[in-house]
């Protein structure tokens, strides 16, 4: 793959910010969209738009085919056993909440346990806090190693026979660590529980096979992987989805409605009340085609190379502290520049045309674990190059001079 050629497919990246060519390094927050995704959404609205699953007319059939075709693509993308295991949602947050409401609250009893790590994104933490409060279950935290990684010894020591759910990110949005998901799956399955994987930072960046991983639920967002905002996915093993109750009731999700009782459609449709996010699903399908054409393995290799280069360039700058493991990390780098607040760093970088994230990254407990109130983060994607990282490093040096 050639990131420079790929960059040319992203209209938004062809602009200047503050008089400098834009260097977009905030991909863990949201990725940019290639022309073909934008075109797919536009084409859908210009040619096929209609409501799904009910129109007898031509457009209704086309829209339904487009929407269900996108579901088939997602199923293949994850290597799910069937497209009925793919529920469309608004994004990772609503996917995880669907598991917390539709599954966790049904099965948890007082004294049961939910295990997670202190590195979880708020969206994979608060739904479990709330589910624990509602059911009397206890939250248990798997401690992190000093470099932020998760050790299987700690996993084994934390899980008990009362652990019904483990909720864990495949890839950390702050540390770039890759958690040992398949071994965690084995550990929780041995105890009769299920594994919920926050896939927001893995689906866009590496090849995922939910069955090989042993994930019982896997949640991700379209917008972080070249797709539109407002569309996400919950993968769930069919047997678990069958047992779950819907959490949203209304049109589209029903089988039969009487004055006092109603029954639901089959999975996955019983979870998709109301007119679904049809154009978003079409855009997500186009994004998957794009990523598969480039190759997820290629994308992962490219980003790991960029991360190694970024670690090398940034650690050579006096006063820069890096967080997370030096080796074995995905394509993002979290750092601070001396005692300059990350907001100030991000503002100086912005005037140099470089977009990074500064703040707590929706991980306040992890910030406390790191002993900082906030950090800066540069996160990479397939269109980033080593020269983007050179621009980042040069701008950090400028920032230091400015605040001296």
């Amino acid at each position: 793959m050639d990131p420079i050629v790929l960059k040319s497919e992203f209209p938004i990246l062809q602009q200047e910010v503050g008089g400098h060519p834009l260097v977009y390094l905030d991909n863990a927050a949201t990725s940019q969209k290639p022309r073909r995704v934008i075109e797919a959404v536009k084409r859908y609205y210009e040619r096929d738009n209609a409501n799904v699953h009910r129109g007898v007319h031509t457009l209704g059939s086309r829209a339904t085919d487009a929407y269900e075709g996108a579901r088939e693509k997602v199923a293949r993308f994850l290597n799910a056993a069937s497209a009925k295991e793919i529920v469309f949602t608004r994004g990772t947050t609503s996917s995880l909440n669907l598991v917390a409401y539709g599954y966790a609250r049904q099965i948890l009893r007082e004294g049961d346990e939910i295990a997670l790590t202190p590195a979880e994104h708020h969206s994979n933490l608060i739904p479990w806090q709330q589910a624990a409060k509602a059911t009397g279950a206890a939250l248990k935290y798997i401690p992190l190693q000093p470099d932020g990684t998760v050790s299987m010894a700690d996993v084994e020591a934390t899980l008990t026979d009362r652990t019904k759910i483990v909720a864990m990110a495949y890839v950390s949005n702050v540390l770039g660590t890759v958690n040992p998901i398949s071994r965690v799956a084995e550990a929780i399955h041995r105890r009769g529980g299920v594994l919920v994987v926050d896939g927001a930072q893995s689906a866009p960046h590496l090849k995922v096979d939910v069955r090989a991983l042993g994930a019982d639920f896997y949640a991700f967002s379209g917008h972080k992987m070249c797709g539109p905002t407002g569309i996400g996915v919950l993968y769930g093993r069919a047997e678990l989805l069958e047992r779950m109750e819907p959490v949203e009731f209304g049109g589209e999700m029903i089988d039969f409605v009487d004055l006092y009782e109603s029954s639901w459609k089959e999975i996955p449709w019983k979870f998709e009340g109301g007119t679904p996010i049809i154009a978003g699903a079409v855009g997500l399908g186009a994004a998957i085609d794009f990523l598969e054409q480039v190759g997820l393995d290629e994308i992962e290799r490219h980003e790991r190379r960029l991360a190694r280069y970024a670690v090398e360039r940034l650690s050579a700058i006096d006063g820069v502290s890096l967080y997370g493991p030096r080796e074995e990390r995905t394509g993002l780098i979290t750092f601070n520049v001396g005692d300059i607040h990350p907001h100030d760093v991000a503002t100086v970088l912005d005037t140099e045309g470089i977009a990074i994230r500064a703040g707590h990254h929706c991980c306040q407990p992890l910030m406390r674990w790191l002993g900082v109130s906030a950090t800066a983060r540069a996160s990479f994607y397939l269109y980033n190059t080593e020269s983007d990282i050179d621009r980042l490093a040069d701008a950090i040096v400028k920032t230091k001079e400015f605040f001296r």
Partner: protein, 162 residues
């Protein structure tokens, strides 16, 4: 970098590196606290900026409708901490009405309106923030704490702020 120079003028960096009124009222008289009187109220307001994690803890000593002392502690960027430093300096000795009027004027400054602060010109250095919309919340954090503190002191928000 000229836009940046506008933003981080010397005066901002000076308040950031040498903040006025940093600490708590209990630290001593440096915050301008005079002897406690019957009408003296001490108010503490903790505010944070949930999008970025900046925090401020502002203490006001209110006596007979006058801000007798103002001190703060907190974590944040140069914009939020320098703004807190300036605000606490500017409102000391003002009546609560005057302090709230200053807060309104500061809001106008953040909207890019041509206001001046004759009483405390340093504040005008923050006018550049309006060109950086993402940073306006940093600059207004301390002033929002001031509004809450004054309201709290008047009992408007009795018991709602800690």
């Amino acid at each position: 970098m000229s836009q940046l120079d506008d933003l981080y003028r010397r005066v901002i960096m000076d308040h950031y590196k040498n903040p006025r009124n940093k600490g708590t009222l209990e630290d001593g008289a440096a915050g301008g606290v005079s002897g406690q009187s019957a009408e003296s109220t001490k108010v503490t307001v903790n505010l944070n900026n949930p999008t970025c994690g900046d925090r401020i803890s502002l203490q006001l000593q209110l006596e007979d409708g006058v801000v007798k002392g103002a001190r703060f502690t907190g974590e944040g960027c140069s914009i939020s901490l320098s703004s807190a430093s300036m605000m606490t300096d500017a409102v000391k000795g003002k009546t609560t009405e005057e302090a709230l009027a200053l807060a309104d004027k500061f809001s106008a400054l953040m909207k890019g309106e041509p206001v001046t602060f004759e009483e405390y010109e340093d504040i005008e250095a923050l006018s550049g923030v309006n060109k950086f919309p993402a940073r306006i919340k940093c600059a207004t954090l301390a002033w929002n704490a001031l509004r809450k503190g004054v309201e709290h002191g008047r009992g408007v928000h009795e018991g709602t702020e800690s």
